[in-house]
Symmetry: C2
Subunit: 453 residues, 2 copies
C-alpha cells in the first residue's frame, strides 16, 4: 500500500506543489485587517481541498476573529486510532518588503528551496498533510487511520479564540492523539521530535516613589529612589549563578533524569556563542546551557524603564520604575503558584519608602511533556528516521506553544510534534523558505507513520 501512495506523490509532485503555490499566493496575514478577505480565502482553500480529496465532513468554524477549518474522515473504523492534526493557514506580515529577493506571495524556487511567506510557517507543513491524505484517498480510497483536521487562522496573533472553541466543541475535536508540524529540526537533515515545551507565566511591576520626578540635589538622601529599589528587588530574585532565589520556585520542578540529560547531550545543539555573539554562555549552577534552556525553568527580565532616558544627564530621582518579567516553566510547575511566588517575593523584598503595583500576566501555560518512549512517539521517530535516513533525536524546547498546552489540557492525549522546518527557514523574516527535500522526506515520513499505527 505504501508503495502506491508514494508513487502517487512522486507522479503528482508538480501538480501538488502548484496547489501549494496557490495556497502560498494568498496573503493571509492575520494581524492586518486589510487582509481579512485573504484570510477567509486561505480558509476556503483548505476546506475546498479537504472536500476535493473526500473528507466526510468539512466545516468552516466562525469565531469572533478569523475562521478555523475543521475536517474529518472517520472511515477507518472504531479499531483504528483517531488523530487530530493541528496547523494554521495564517501568516506573518511580509514587511519589510524591500528585503525580499522575490515577491513574498509569488512562490519561487531557488537552490532547492521554495521561497514565500508561509512556506515553512505553516502553510507548507499543513499542505504536506493534505498531499498525503490525497495520495491515500486516490490510491486506496481510504486513510489508514481516522483523521480530524483543525487548521486555524489566528496562530500568528495568539490563537485568541482557539481554546474556547476546542473546549466548547470538545467532543467534535476529540482524538486519540494529536500531530503538529509547526516547528523545525535542529539541523537540515536531523529528524527532530519535540517531546517537551516549557510553560509560561509572568508579571509586570511598577515601583512608585515620589509623586513627581524630584531634584536629586534637593531630595537625594531623603527619598528612596524607585530605580535603585527596582534593581535591589530584581537582584534579590536571582544569584550570579543563575539560580532563582524566589521562595518555592523549584519546589515542584520535575528533575532532569539521567536518561533525559543523555538525550540532551546526544542531540546536536546550537552554538549559542556563535549565533548570539556573547563571550560565554551562562547557565544555572550544575547544568549546561543546553540542559538549562531545554529542561530547567528560567526567569528573565524582558524590559525595564524609569527616569530619564534621553541624551546626557538629568539629575532626578524618578517617580517610578517598571520591569517586565516572564518565566519559562518545566513540567511539575504550576504557573499560578510560580506567579504567586513572584508576587510575594516582590512584596516582601520591597524596601521602605516605596510602593509597588503588580500586574499579573493573564496568559500563562503549564509546561508540556510527553514520554519519549510512548509507542506513538517511538513509531513517529522510526518513520521519521527511515525517511531521512538518520536517527531521530528527541528534544525539549525552551519555548512555549500555547496550543500544545491547550490540547494537553482539554484532551489529555499524546501530542506528536514533528516539524520539517530547518534552521535556515527564516520564519517571520524576509525570504522565508521551505527546503523542498524536506517536503519530500516529510511526505514519506507521514505515509510511513500513518501506515504503521
Amino acid at each position: 500500500m505504501t508503495e502506491a501512495v508514494l508513487k502517487y506523490l512522486v507522479d503528482h509532485r508538480e501538480e501538488q506543489l502548484e496547489a501549494l503555490n496557490d495556497f502560498l499566493r494568498i496573503p493571509s496575514v492575520s494581524t492586518d485587517s486589510a487582509f481579512k478577505d485573504n484570510v477567509c480565502e486561505a480558509a476556503s482553500f483548505v476546506s475546498d481541498y479537504l472536500k476535493k480529496i473526500g473528507f466526510d465532513r468539512v466545516e468552516i468554524e466562525e469565531t469572533k476573529g478569523h475562521p478555523l477549518v475543521y475536517g474529518e474522515w472517520l472511515g477507518a473504523g472504531n479499531d483504528a486510532p483517531t488523530v487530530l492534526v493541528y496547523g494554521h493557514y495564517d501568516v506573518q506580515p511580509a514587511d519589510p518588503l524591500p528585503l525580499w529577493e522575490s515577491d513574498p506571495f509569488e512562490p519561487t524556487v531557488r537552490n532547492g528551496r521554495l521561497f514565500a511567506r508561509g512556506a515553512s510557517d505553516d502553510k507548507g507543513q499543513v499542505f504536506m498533510y493534505l498531499a498525503v491524505f490525497e495520495a491515500f484517498m486516490k490510491t486506496t480510497g481510504k486513510l489508514p487511520i481516522n483523521v480530524k483536521v483543525c487548521i486555524e487562522g489566528e496562530e500568528e496573533i495568539g490563537s485568541e479564540h482557539l481554546y474556547d472553541l476546542l473546549q466548547t466543541k470538545k467532543a467534535q475535536f476529540a482524538a486519540d492523539f494529536a500531530m503538529i508540524s509547526d516547528s523545525g529540526m535542529v539541523t537540515e537533515e536531523q529528524p527532530t521530535i519535540l517531546y517537551g515545551l516549557k510553560g509560561f507565566t509572568g508579571l509586570e511591576f511598577t515601583i512608585h516613589g515620589p509623586a513627581n520626578d524630584l531634584h536629586s540635589g534637593i531630595y537625594g538622601g531623603a527619598i528612596r529612589n524607585p530605580l535603585m529599589a527596582m534593581a535591589q528587588v530584581l537582584a534579590s530574585m536571582k544569584d550570579e549563578h543563575e539560580v532563582v532565589l524566589v521562595d518555592g520556585f523549584y519546589d515542584d520542578v520535575e528533575p532532569l533524569t539521567d536518561e533525559e540529560r543523555q538525550l540532551i547531550t546526544t542531540a546536536p545543539s546550537e552554538d549559542y556563542i556563535k549565533t548570539t555573539g556573547v563571550s560565554e554562555t551562562v547557565s544555572e549552577a550544575g547544568y549546561t546551557a543546553v540542559e538549562h534552556t531545554m529542561g530547567r525553568p528560567t526567569l528573565e527580565v524582558n524590559g525595564m524603564f524609569g527616569g530619564y532616558q534621553g541624551e546626557g544627564t538629568k539629575t532626578i530621582i524618578p517617580a517610578s520604575a517598571t520591569a517586565k518579567l516572564t518565566c519559562r516553566l518545566v513540567p511539575g510547575q504550576d504557573p499560578e503558584k510560580v506567579q504567586d511566588g513572584l508576587v510575594t517575593h516582590i512584596e516582601e523584598n520591597l524596601p521602605a519608602g516605596v510602593t509597588v503595583e503588580i500586574e499579573r500576566e493573564p496568559l500563562s501555560a503549564k509546561a508540556y511533556k510527553v514520554d519519549p518512549n510512548h509507542p506513538l512517539i517511538e513509531k513517529a521517530a522510526t518513520s521519521y528516521s527511515k525517511a531521512f535516513n538518520h536517527p531521530s533525536v528527541f528534544v525539549r524546547m525552551g519555548g512555549s506553544i500555547p496550543v500544545v498546552e491547550w490540547i494537553d489540557d482539554i484532551f489529555n492525549i499524546p501530542i506528536v510534534l514533528l516539524g520539517f522546518g530547518t534552521p535556515d527557514d527564516r520564519l517571520h523574516s524576509p525570504n522565508e523558505s521551505f527546503l523542498l527535500a524536506n517536503f519530500d522526506r516529510g511526505l514519506a515520513t507521514l505515509v510511513d507513520y500513518f501506515n504503521s499505527i
Copy 2:
C-alpha cells in the same frame, strides 16, 4: 550715609521697579536660538544700566555663546575690599504658555508678588544690586567698596563658556570675595545663608549582552540577561540602609561636625513627606534625612532602560541595558576619584557573559563650603537679620551651583550666597514670581552689608 541711600530707594521705588519691568519684558531665553537677539538686548540693558549709574568700565565680553556683562567701579581705594557680584540675565523658556495667568514677559503685580519669567531667577535679584549701586552713587557719589560685576547669559544652559572666561581673564575678575543672589530662603521670612553646596559627578553605563534581542524561550538559560546584570550591578552599589558600597566612596568625606548638625537641626526644613508624597523618608544609616541631603554624599540612578517597554509582554532577552548615575559630593571628596571608584566597582561587579561600556559625565564639580564663622559671612548674616527682623540661618544644600565651585577653584575667595527668593517663586515653572517685600528687604540688606564691610 545709610539713611540717605535707603531714602533714595524708597523715593525712587516706582521708577526702579519700572526699570526692572523693562528688564523682565526682554525674553532672554538662552536655550532657544529664536531669542538670540533678545539675549543680547538683555545684556545691553545691564551694561547700559551700569554705565548710567557711573561704573568706570563696562564691557560686553563676547563668548562663543551668549555674551557676559562685565562692569567695575574701583573708586573705593586699595584699603576697601573688592566684591565680585555674579548673576545671570538669561531665563528659562516660558513654556507651557497656557499655564501662565499673565503674560510671562509682561510683568504683573498680584498679591504683593511680581509675576514674570526671570522675576526671581535671576533678573529680579540681579537688579537689586543695580538698584543699590545706583542709590549709593546718586546720594554719595561713590560705592562703599570696590565692585566688579559679572552677569552672564548662559546660566540656564550650563554656563558653558564661563569657566574659561574667568580663567583667561583671572586678573580682571579678581576680587576679595564674591556675592551671589541666585537662590532662595527656607521660608518667606527666614534669612538664609547658603554656606555649602554639594559637588557632582556621574556616568552612564550600558551592559551589552547578545548582538540582538533574543527569544527568551530558545535562549533563556544560556545567555546572561543584560537587564538582570544591570540590576545586580546597581544593587551591589548601595545597601537597603542607603549606605553606598562602592570602595573608597566615603574615604575623604569631611565628617559632619556637632556644630553643623546643630545648625542643620535648628534651620527650618522642608516637610519631605508632604512635598513629595512618599510614605516615609529614607536616609543613610546614622543620619536624618536633612543631614543626609545637606551634609552626606549621595548616589542616585537617574534613568534606566532596556528591552521591551511597550504594552503587554514581549518575551525577549534584551541585547543591552543602560543606566545613568550621578553622585552629589560633600567637601573632601574628589569628583574624579569618586568617578574612578564607580567605574572600578562596575567593572569588578559585572557578571560573566556580558560587557560594559562606560561613559563618564564630563561635567563634574567639587563640593563648596565656606566657614559660616568667616567675618564676611557673619556680617552678611547680621545685615540680613536686621533687614528681615529675623535671625539668619545657615544651611548647606544638596544641589550644586557650578559657578560657585569655579569661583572657588579659580579665585579661592569666600563666597557669600544670600538669596532672596522664596519657596513659592516657581522657578523654571509657569507663573514665576518674586515677592516684592523681599525686594525691599533685600535692598536694605545689601545697603547695610556694603556699609558694614
